[in-house]
Amino acid sequence: MLRRIATPALLVVVLGLAVLVPWLGDYYVHVFALVFINVLLAASLRPSLTCGQLNIGHSAFMCVGAYASALLAKHFAVPFELSLLSGALLATVVGLAVGYPSLRLRGVYFAMVTVAFVEVVRLVAAIWVSLTRGNSGLSGIPKPNLLGMILTTKASQYYLIVFVTVVALVILWKLERSRLGLTWKSIGMADHLAQSLGVNIANYKLLAFMVGCFFAGVAGALYAHFIRFLFPPEFGFLVATNILVYNFVGGRDHFVGPIVGAVFLSLLSEPFRGSAYETIFFSIAMLLTILFLPGGLITLPGKLAGLRWGRAASAPTPSPTG
């Protein structure tokens, strides 16, 4: 009963706060725009993870979406709506090309393919200088426009990112709670059982992977037109692991897990952004989560409540505070 009211109320509060961000100043607009992009990346990795695929290559598809959308807009003056969609679709097609042959690989082997692919994409972006300007970086990416109107202020671009992210999250949520999501979950839990009920697990895994690639492409396009400068190393292995870490730290048993993880870690790591400390920070966050909150941050409220109410009942929770 409480949950019925609590969830929508929480949503309204969070969105309300998101709307208020531009009043804090341009710095916060920048920070929170990146937070929302990270949320989208984290949430879009979830279908793959639900199927039991350890995908450490998500930033590659973000990269494809970012460069495709940026180049289309820059060289062919393609409107933003169309360039974003093209970027996302190209990321999906690339996802199909990578996913189809590597689908039969399990666990670590699949993860290794995705890791390798991140490097391939990064290197292509770095070496194909005539197209991407390589490691000098691609600049002069047009600002996003909507229905022909150019969004000149950072605040309006931020709102665009919030809007697209929210729409994407709604779609991902709908997918997850539908039969499709349940089927993905069933493959992650016991793939041979799913198979014995007639599920073509190869196709469903591929679909989960491609859905993730699509939204990673969307996130990439949003990023490209907001930062307006693309630099291959920013789509490397570390970004891909960060996306995975958002999922683990936030919690993998619920849709809000990656969202919480992305918001929490992006904000907390903000002082270290771009420095070597960022990696250390993410490693420590991951370690602490595995050690003390295996279910992720989303299990924290429940654990705290358990400590409070469970003291008399002496619940067998291994707590270091003893």
């Binding site: 709670r177 539908s178 041979h192």
Partner: protein, 255 residues
């Protein structure tokens, strides 16, 4: 024409013949038992029939069509559905969700259903899943996570999921293992009801009392080969069978 017919069905693992030239037929509407000592090749047989393993040689015909070497989800589509020896469920999901997954082949999967419907599942699918759970006697537990169900109920839920896939031939791998007398009696009664509702049944089981009491025909495997075949009375008096495997177990079953 038999519903299921294998010819010279064989499976070799590195030279070991786990299943060796087995001819097996199952007529529509039968309850057939597949028995044999441990390692006789029963489960390998099931894995071959359901497409989880590819036969080394031989053919499998189901409903007149050759299904040898088809992938398992294609075989399910033709109406040949199996359960597993070890309790296999989607442990973290509710009983209802488990059965909903069993409906996979008979569900609506359009994008419109996913994106624009307020309900995650069409009402008809929920209704049908509830009916299946009611039929097997689990309707009181439909919102419980599968892992919280007692062992007997978990096994029955496994059967319910397979039923939701609307099999024409249901392969049950040790459906009453680990059950007490009362529970196994209820499951075997359920098996008979399932057959009476039009599903042919082939089952592997170690519990001789259950097998002898339920099956109309029994096939005995030993060392991957067919040793005997016949009615429970014929099989249980066959000297080869008694020598190979039944022996004390049969005396015990006769009481």
């Amino acid at each position: 024409m038999p519903l299921l017919e294998t010819r010279d069905l064989s499976k070799h693992f590195d030279g070991l013949a786990a299943v060796n030239r087995v001819d097996l037929t199952v007529e529509e509407g039968e309850i057939v038992g597949l028995i044999g000592p441990n390692g006789a090749g029963k489960t390998t047989c099931f894995n071959l029939l359901s497409g989880f393993l590819r036969p080394t040689a031989g053919t499998i015909r189901f409903d007149g069509a050759d299904i040898t070497g088809l992938r398992s989800h294609r075989i399910v589509k033709r109406g040949l559905v199996r359960t597993f020896q070890h309790t296999t469920l989607f442990q973290e999901m509710t009983a209802l969700e488990n059965v909903l997954l069993g409906l996979h082949l008979h569900s609506r999967k359009g994008l419109g259903q996913v994106l624009f419907s307020r309900r995650p599942f069409p009402r008809a699918e929920i209704h049908h899943s509830r009916e299946v759970l009611q039929f097997v006697g689990l309707s009181a537990h439909l919102d419980q996570p599968a892992k919280n169900l007692p062992h007997g109920h978990q096994r029955i839920l496994g059967i319910a999921m397979a039923l939701a896939a609307r099999p024409r031939l249901l392969l049950l791998d040790e459906p009453v293992t680990g059950m007490n007398l009362d529970e196994s009696g209820r499951v075997m009664a359920l098996v008979k009801t399932i057959r009476d509702r039009g599903t042919t049944i082939l089952l592997v089981e170690h519990n001789m009392k259950a097998v002898m009491g339920t099956c109309e025909r029994i096939v005995v495997l030993n060392f991957g080969q067919k040793l005997a075949e016949g009615t429970p009375a014929e099989v249980s008096t066959n000297p080869n069978v008694i020598e190979a495997y039944l022996g004390a177990g049969l005396e015990h079953a006769r009481g």
